[in-house]
């Protein structure tokens, strides 16, 4: 809402809210949930590794398999409920349309080329660039795959259709681990980007 003229006694308009309160809360709860799930999940993997490596125990949560399982099956509620709240509000408030649409391969490519040339602008934090849109949509989809494969691991007999979709119980184990690895890669990239543009950390805390 632009004023036609500026009275000398008027203060300039405060910067627009980039991230509403609900989004910031959901984001940081998600950070906590992902941390709990990944670190306890690593300890569970270590109990019966299906590839040629184990994750160092110091990086894991739970102390032993029993403890890791307790954390994992507690954290799952936070991850899922918080995730549902995010999806509902993101769509319901219209934020998804505003922030993520349009998202096309050409938009992503254009911004990727600009980024590789060091020319991707970060002046206007109210808009996501094409890479951000793609990355965040990927993260959401990846978390959904994690949750679905997690459900199959937890109850492979009861969730029969999902189980068959993911290649059976043993197939689901690999899907779950690969999806986790992709999520960890996303988090690493995301945190690196925040370090490059530290104002974005402020906006996710203060909203502006």
């Amino acid at each position: 809402m632009q004023p036609n003229h500026m009275m000398i006694s008027e203060k300039p308009a405060a910067p627009a809210v980039i991230h509403p309160v609900w989004l910031r809360v959901v984001h940081w709860l998600n950070v906590l949930a992902v941390l709990l799930m990944v670190t306890s999940g690593w300890r569970i993997y270590d109990a019966a590794p299906f590839w040629n490596f184990r994750i160092p125990t110091e990086w894991t949560l739970g102390g032993w398999l029993g403890g890791a399982l307790q954390w994992h099956f507690a954290g799952m509620w936070l991850l899922a409920i918080n995730g549902l709240i995010y999806l509902s509000l993101n769509v319901g408030t219209g934020r998804f349309l505003k922030k993520f649409v349009p998202l096309t391969p050409s938009i992503i490519l254009t911004d990727l080329k600009a980024a590789l040339r060091g020319r991707l602008s970060h002046d206007d934090l109210t808009h996501y660039n094409g890479l951000q849109k793609a990355a965040y949509v990927f993260a959401v989809l990846d978390l959904i795959v994690l949750i679905v494969s997690g459900l199959v691991l937890w109850k492979s007999v009861q969730f029969q259709m999902l189980r068959e979709l993911l290649g059976g119980y043993e197939g689901a184990r690999r899907v779950h681990f690969i999806a986790m690895s992709l999520l960890v890669a996303f988090v690493a990239g995301h945190v690196f980007m925040v370090a490059l543009v530290p104002r974005t950390l402020l906006t996710m805390i203060r909203g502006r």
Binding site: A48, G62, G63, L65, L69, F73, K155
Partner: protein
Amino acid sequence: MKPRNIQANPNVDGPAVVREALKIILPRVEDHSRRNFLRRSLTLGGVAMLSGCSISDNSSVGAALAAISRINDGVQGLIFGPAQLAPTYPDSMIMRPFPFNAYYAEDEIREVDGDSWRLEVTGMVADRRKWTLAELRAMPQIGQVTRHICVEGWSAIGKWAGVPFSEFLKRSGADLSAKYIDFRCADDYHTSIDMATALHPQTTLALDWDGSPLPPKYGYPVKLRMPTKLGYKNPKHIHTIIVTNTYPGGYWEDQGYNWFGGS
């Protein structure tokens, strides 16, 4: 055997204490299996869990995690489909040799004398009596080839056959409205299950493994095979079955593993 809530002393270096203890105890233990068992379980986490201490020096965190596990029991009970069958497989997919797993090593496997062994059924049953192996073999038998899933994450396909457990419960005159069935075993293991799972069509009082009587390492003479539950819920060398409304817990469950343990 309920865990007590003990506050950990923040001035004590926990991991260092455990390392010291292991250094003193292990050389004195001749028996390799006991040594391995001690080595495996005497992690700080293991000790903390066994004594009821919470890892994070905060007993309310431990209590909260245990409470959520009990909530998950209820959720699993709701998700459980009494007619939902576990997938079955061809004989060619049976894992041979089938893995051995227990809370002890192979040199401590119990050898039960099948002739003198009796299966005692007690608690909320009309017919409190002891069954012989021959009497169990005379009952109708079923079998399937199903996937055994361990809480550690691995799985192995195996073939078990025996008396349908729902049939056995009915012949014992068990009160089918009871909540729990407790199993006591010759290797001092015990676990308990919910009545809905007990009555599931694939729940089997197994006498045979892969076409022959159960060998000792897989639970001779009788094991409860449930493809709808994780491995630690499938007790071996059963000698007593108790139908009850009092929550019985279990060897691993009392230490923090989930009670329902459904797959």
